[in-house]
Amino acid sequence: MRYLVAKDSREAVALLNTGEDARLLAGGTDVLVRMKLEGKTPDLLIDIKEISGFSDITTENGGFRIGAAVSGAEMGEHAALKAMWPGVVEAVELIGSTQVQGRATMVGNLCNGSPAADSVPAMMAAGAMARIEGPAGTRDVLVADLLEGPGKTKLGKAELVSSVFLPAGLPKAGDAYLRFIPRTEMDIAVASAAVSLVLDDNNTVAEASVVLGAVARTAVFVPNAAAALVGSKLEPEALSACAAACAAACSPIDDRRGTIEFRTKIAGVMATRAAKIAFRRAGGKL
């Protein structure tokens, strides 16, 4: 294996395009674990952390652009970002331990393609856009449109994600992310939910987005669950309709981390609990 530090994204793209088995290295908390457990190395590992701008969190059109090499810890320390998108930041901060937080990136979490990736539902609910650089230039796509299946994304050959853009938060809006794990830390989500809400002047839900993680081949929007919340003040009927819609949207697997039955049951629990947090963050009272 060779290890190279890319100076800019053009170089990284070019290196990805050489025909070798090349892999990008951001925080490495997935890449290095896989190398260790599989006992295999790629031909080329391309470190993207030195690329200018990749380690920055910048404001843009009232929102935030988060570089591909920004660590979870850095996001957690960014007060303004946290104030605008608390759900996204809390999702990122749930990834691994403090030690893992020191390295892991949100973009790596996305590109690793795990259906249980914590930051992905939160990014989707926030309407995040990924900026993609590739041989054909630069394009922006919704994070939701990048997901393909376990271990896979829709990135094309030699493409990389250089940053993720979180749009300007609206007034009276709030987001939240919750996951279920058997312990309190150091586990991978068994089921998770991100909810993003906008309230009207009445504190009634005007817009909602509900996304589930770890219950299907990718994180999934649950439009019916969102619809159940719109027009409500999270009354019990609205919440149970939301939960039922979540259960209906689940198509999980049985594995060592959870059963189909269990995942299906708790997905709605996570969603309704996250909805309440998002609601409060948006200024609503329960």
Partner: protein, 737 residues
């Protein structure tokens, strides 16, 4: 028995502590020597397979590879137990479980060794496998080894059933007929791993002349020497084993997994070889404890008296014959004074890694099942769980369910302390339940050697042969200082290698403070005797006319007051002129260890929507006889409680249909993390063991016995439904809600 101690019961800083907080301490993988090779082991991906052939030619041809070995490199040994150990370290003919070693490589670097493993070609023919204990006992199950079935058993069980034991007395029929309520339940518990953070590691150097040096992380380096010299067919005297600092064991380092392999590679390559297991190897191929399937039947009167009790324990212990269910059968009902009781046990082989001891081996699952049924009876009959246990509690003079009559024991004291503790009367929040359980462990004595030198400057050097797994050098120094009457920091205790002090059994069975303690006191007494002699010589009086008081020789009898006391330091300073160096030593096998009982109380909250259980409050009461260093005793109690909580809630070996282990890592083998637990209050109770001069019982193991049922009982009260299988992971709890 002595009661007024100067040093015992204080909390000095452990002598090895500084090295451990600064990173200097040398653990198993921390030693390197120049010219050493790195070894790796190739492991079977199959649960059960015939090894048709192994072709190592390509690996041997790889540049940098210095030796490759397989099972064929190991000559047979006479003793069958040693043969099984050897075949567990390196398969011969058949791979018996996922992770079973089939070949090993030593090379100039880790990378080359890893590369070489990929070049070894193994042809397997897979065989039917079995990993569940009940299935493994069925006639017709794939049998792991022929001809080892317990002789007393009939055709109703398979050849995997290698042991049968029964303990008890009275007549069960009579007992159950006297009951107002009889409950009969079946339980299952998963296999769990000791989970020490330090993987097995060693550095071996075995020359062609049969002389060897071995550095390893072990609970017993004499055991390592005996087993390895037998397997390698060399004299015990030629193999010197040095125990590294040990990064946890809990019973899991009371056998060998890699040492014979490293020695054989070193012998073949003619160079030192370092071998360190990966975490995945630790889970797949070092011993977890047994899984179990248990039937319990207990009868009780309306007043809470247990009239009859019957346990049937079926333990699954992996791929080789073993004996451990006996401990479970002996422990099951030890807490109770019963007229009609029987506990039976079956040891069963399966296609899993060979079990090895885990803290109070065999007891936690048996006691979990018993204490769950006792709790259910109390619930059904509307009885207080502590009062009921007090009513039935074993005490001094009780004929135990496993035979012996108890001497002074502290169960009643522990139960009374629990009852009086504010925790017991604290109000409970919604969705919260309080669980109680008793627990028991024997504690052991065993063979021990201690050698103590009184140095000319008045300090004391003590060599003992038991690896220090949790602060024992501190408590041994404390006992030496107490016995000699000197300050703690004048004594330095080291763990000697196998060539520097006599044989010592493995650090297990909660025996070190007890057995090494006794040997230390006896060694000190021998040194004291000599020091009195020297003082007598200086004073020119009879040796019998000198006694040892507060660290000094004093004339007694008609010479009393004739001379001022002569301190250890003064006697030591002139020892060169009064007859040479002064020392004391003791070799023996003390056998009067005292059994230890504990009572744990826990408040658990169960999230009714997710089945998630959180531990809200935990208090553990334990009779330890005498707490030499109370902080380390508390630590043992807290650590055992935490392990038991993990066992109860989330830890388990998960096997797929293919017989492969699905969770060989800390991400999915879920031991408790810091945020999972509250503070764990340890309440020390001291009912002195009459078999030890300071009253020590041993304390390391009892604490893992009660938590399983305590947590299970708490969950039962929190959710109003009782679970009959461990772990009580959230999916299982939510299913019954």
């Amino acid at each position: 028995m002595k009661q007024d101690f100067k040093i015992l019961g204080t909390r000095p800083i452990r002598p090895d502590g500084l090295d451990k907080v600064t990173g200097k301490a040398m653990f198993g993988a921390d030693k390197s020597v120049t010219g050493m090779l790195h070894a790796r082991i190739l492991r079977s991906p199959h649960a059960h397979a015939e090894i048709v052939s192994i072709n190592t030619a390509k690996a041997e041809a790889l540049a940098g590879v210095k030796a490759v070995i397989t099972g064929d490199d190991f000559a047979d040994v006479e003793n069958s137990a040693t043969r099984y150990t050897m075949q567990n370290c390196m398969a011969q003919g058949r791979a018996l479980y996922d992770g079973h070693a089939v070949a090993a490589v030593a090379a100039v670097s880790k990378a080359v060794a890893a590369e070489a493993l990929k070049l070894i070609e193994v042809e397997y023919k897979t065989l039917p496998h079995v990993t569940d204990v009940d299935e493994a006992m069925l006639p017709g199950a794939p049998v792991l080894h022929e001809g080892v079935k317990a002789r007393t058993l009939g055709d109703d069980v398979s050849g995997n059933t290698v042991g049968y034991y029964s303990f008890g007395h009275g007549d069960l029929e009579t007992g159950f007929s006297e009951a107002d309520e009889v409950i009969e339940r079946t339980f299952k518990t998963a296999a769990v791993h000791q989970g020490y953070i330090e993987p097995h590691a060693c550095l071996a150097d075995l020359g062609g002349d049969g002389r060897g040096e071995l550095w390893c992380s072990t609970q017993g380096h004499y055991m390592v020497r005996e087993v390895c010299s037998e397997i390698l067919h060399i004299d015990a005297s030629q193999l010197r084993v040095t125990a590294s600092e040990i990064g946890g064991g809990f019973g899991g380092k009371t056998t060998v997994f890699i040492e014979p392999v490293a020695l054989k590679l070193s012998q073949k390559a003619g160079k030192p070889v370092k071998l360190v297991m990966s975490r995945d190897e630790v889970f797949r191929a070092s011993g977890p404890t047994m899984s179990s399937s248990i039937d319990i039947k207990i009868g009780m009167t309306k007043a809470g008296k247990i009239t009859g009790a019957h346990a049937k324990l079926r333990y699954q212990g992996g791929a080789f014959p073993y004996e451990m269910v006996m401990m479970g059968a002996m422990s099951a009902f030890a807490a109770y004074d019963l007229e009609h009781v029987q506990a039976e046990g079956w040891d069963v082989m399966t296609n899993r890694p060979k079990m090895i001891s885990y803290r109070a081996p065999g007891a936690p699952m048996a006691v979990y099942a018993v204490e769950s049924v006792v709790d259910e009876l109390c619930q059904k009959l509307g009885l207080d769980p502590i009062d009921t246990r007090l009513l039935n509690a074993a005490r001094e003079g009780t004929k135990s369910s496993y035979g012996p009559t108890f001497k002074a024991i502290g169960l009643v004291e522990a139960l009374e302390a629990a009852k009086a503790h504010p925790h017991y009367s604290a109000p409970l929040a919604p969705n919260t339940g309080r669980g109680i359980s008793c627990g028991f462990w024997f504690n052991f004595g065993g063979q021990v050697s201690v050698s103590m030198a009184i140095n000319a400057d008045g300090t004391v050097s003590l060599i003992e042969g038991n690896p220090d797994i949790g602060g024992s050098r501190a408590s041994i120094s404390m006992m030496a200082a107490e016995a000699l009457g000197i300050e703690f920091d004048r004594v330095r205790t080291i763990v000697g290698d196998t060539a520097s002090v006599g044989f010592s059994d493995v650090t297990d069975g909660s025996r070190v403070t007890f057995a090494v303690g006794i040997a230390t006191i006896k060694a000190a007494n021998a040194a004291i005797k000599e020091m009195c002699k020297r003082a007598a010589k200086i004073w020119d009086i009879d040796a019998e006319a000198v006694e040892w008081v507060d660290g000094a020789a004093q004339p007694t009898g008609h010479n009393a007051g004739d001379f001022p006391p002569m301190s250890l330091a003064e006697i030591a300073a002139t020892s060169g002129k009064t007859g040479g160096p002064i020392a004391g030593h003791h070799e023996g096998a003390p056998d009067k260890a005292g059994v230890s009982f504990g009572v744990h109380m826990v408040d658990v909250e169960v999230d009714p929507e997710t089945g998630f259980t959180s531990i809200k409050r935990y208090t553990a009461f334990q009779d330890v006889g005498k707490a030499i260093h109370p902080a380390y005793v508390e630590g043992q109690i807290q650590g055992g409680a935490a392990q038991g909580i993990g066992w109860a809630l989330n830890e388990e070996y998960i096997y797929g249909e293919d017989g492969r282990l699905q969770n060989p890592g800390f991400l999915d083998y879920r031991i408790p993390v810091a945020s999972d637990l509250p503070m764990i209050e340890a309440v020390i109770i001291e009912v002195p063991n009459p078999g030890h001069p300071f009253g020590v019982r041993g304390c390391g193991e009892t604490s893992i016995v009660p938590p399983l049922a305590a947590v299970a009982n708490g969950v039962a009260h929190a959710i109003g439904v009782r679970m009959f299988a461990l772990p009580m992971s959230p999916p299982k709890i939510l299913k019954v809600l």
